[in-house]
Structure formats: C-alpha cells, structure tokens
C-alpha cells in the first residue's frame, strides 16, 4: 500500500456525529407525522430520482400526441394519394378505350375509301 493510501485511511477515519444524535433520531421517530404543505408535495416531484420520472412523463405527454397527429396526417395524405392514383388509372383506361374506338372508326373509313 502506498503512502497516499495510508494517508487517505487516516484522512477518512470514521468520525462521530454530535452527542445527542441517537436521541434526535428517536425523537423524530416518536414525532407525529407532519402534514406537508402543497409546495413541499410539489417540490418532492423535482427531487431525484423522481425528477427523472416527471421529466419522462412530461416528454412522453408531449411527444406521443405529436407523433400521433403526425401519423394521422401521413395516413390521410397516403389515402389521398392512393385515391388520386386510382382516379388517374381510371381516366387513362377511359381515354384508352375512346382512342381504340376512334382508331377502329378511322380504320373502317380508310378501308371503305380503298374499296371505292
């Protein structure tokens, strides 16, 4: 063991509290429980480790609704996009069938002209 470690043992020797320490502990045990004021109840929330839980709860109560709203918005946008896509496909099909009909008519007319 080094000199420093020996010196630390000397520097950190057990010390006695004041002479009436035990009596004061017993007096506190015998004392009727004091009702805490509202600000003391509130202050308890800001003492570790409770403060960590309070902070976590506050963050959760802010983050979870925001995430929920964001998710809902995204779902709505996705549904709108899906609907627009279906409408576009339907319109393309309609246009395609019309074109087909026009093409048939043009073909029919050109065959008639050839025969004449």
């Amino acid at each position: 063991m080094s000199y420093l470690e020996d010196d630390l043992k000397l520097a950190l020797q057990r010390a006695e509290p004041s002479g009436d320490f035990t009596e004061r502990v017993l007096a506190r045990l015998n004392a009727p429980p004091r009702k805490r004021a509202w600000w003391e109840e509130l202050a308890v929330l800001f003492q570790p480790p409770r403060v960590q839980w309070v902070a976590l709860t506050v963050v959760a109560s802010v983050v979870i609704p925001i995430a929920g709203i964001q998710y809902h918005k995204e779902q709505r946008l996705r549904a709108q996009g899906e609907m627009a896509k279906q409408e576009l496909v339907f319109a393309m099909r309609m246009a395609g069938s019309k074109l087909h009909k026009v093409q048939q008519k043009v073909l029919g007319m050109s065959q008639t002209e050839n025969r004449l």
């Binding site: 420093l4 010196d7 630390l8 520097a11 950190l12 057990r14 006695e16 320490f21 035990t22 570790p48």
Partner: protein, 188 residues
C-alpha cells in the same frame, strides 16, 4: 477486534434487530449507536457539511426503522446502511447543484479522531477527496473509510467491478497529482 468479541457483537446486533422489529425502541437506539459513526462519516466526507451529514444520517436511520422487517442479519444491516447512505449522498449532491455552495475552507473538521495524523495533510486530503466527482468520491470513501475491497464496493453501489477499479485508479492518480501541487503550495 478479536473473533469472539466480533461474534458477540454480531449476536447482540441480531438480538437488537429482532427486538427492534417487534417495536422495541431502546433496541433500535442500540443499533443507531452501533452504526452512527459509519453512516455519519460516509455522509460527512462525501458532503463536507456536518449539519447536512447529520440530517442525512438521521434520514437513513429513519428509513432503516421503516425497513427493519427486510433486514436479515447484522452483515445485511451494514450492507443496507452503506448502500442507502451512499445512494442518499449521491442524490443529495445532485439536489445541491441548484443550491448556493459553501466554501470548503469554512467547514469545521470532525471532532473525533482515533489516530494522530498530520492535520494539514489530513485536511488537504479530505478536501481533495470532496472535490472528486460523485461516484469516484463515494468509491474512494468506501475503499479507505470502510476498508471495502472493489468487489464489495461494486455490490454496494450497484456498479460493474471494472468501473469501480477504474474509478479507484483514476481517483488515486488525480489525488496524487493534486496533493503534490497542494503540498507544494503549503511548503511555499
């Protein structure tokens, strides 16, 4: 302490524990007297504030009174007291971050000393220990005040053994360095 007197103390504390659990206050007072120096010193060297250390030590014993049913043996009692005192000290310092700080030079030294030591060096070392960060500080106090080995400290502080060892090594290096400078200043 001889083996037989240690055994005698253990038997007496076990009896006090059983009687305290049945609501016997004089038996509980004996437990407090037996362990008050240990709990108070942990708090005192950690906080370097005698009043606050006494308050914290009292809280630890009040918590003990509420938890007597869960204490299984005298050894468990010592382990429990060290664990609760350490945890409360660390919590107390975190709370004190928002409080005005006392100058360490204003804090009186504890009255009781069992061995003679160089008072300047002792005072400087205790002050340097108090300047360590929270967890390394408690590791150093448990190691040199309570004479616990690193695995026992790891149990008390719920900390990996490797972390305890590294806190000890780094703290000793830091103390050695700071002490060299402080002793240099004292010598000048």
């Amino acid at each position: 302490m001889t083996v037989s007197s240690a055994e005698g103390t253990a038997v007496r504390v076990q009896e006090d524990l059983e009687r305290s659990d049945e609501g016997n206050l004089p038996a509980f007072a004996e437990i407090v007297r037996e362990h008050q120096a240990m709990v108070f010193s942990l708090a005192y060297y950690f906080l370097r504030d005698r009043g606050l250390a006494e308050e914290l030590a009292q809280e630890v014993f009040l918590e003990l009174h509420r938890s007597l049913a869960s204490i299984q043996s005298p050894a468990h009692l010592v382990f429990w007291l060290r664990k609760v005192a350490s945890r409360r000290c660390i919590d107390q310092t975190r709370r004190r971050l928002f409080w005005p700080k006392l100058r360490l030079e204003d804090v009186p030294e504890p009255a009781a000393r069992t061995r003679e030591a160089d008072p300047l060096l002792t005072r400087a070392l205790a002050r340097l220990v108090a300047s360590l960060p929270e967890k390394p500080r408690m590791v150093v106090i448990l190691r040199f005040q309570e004479d616990l080995d690193p695995s026992e400290i790891a149990d008390v502080l719920d900390m990996p053994l490797s972390t305890v060892k590294s806190h000890l090594q780094r703290s000793l290096a830091m103390l050695r360095d700071k002490l060299a400078r402080t002793v240099g200043e004292i010598a000048i």
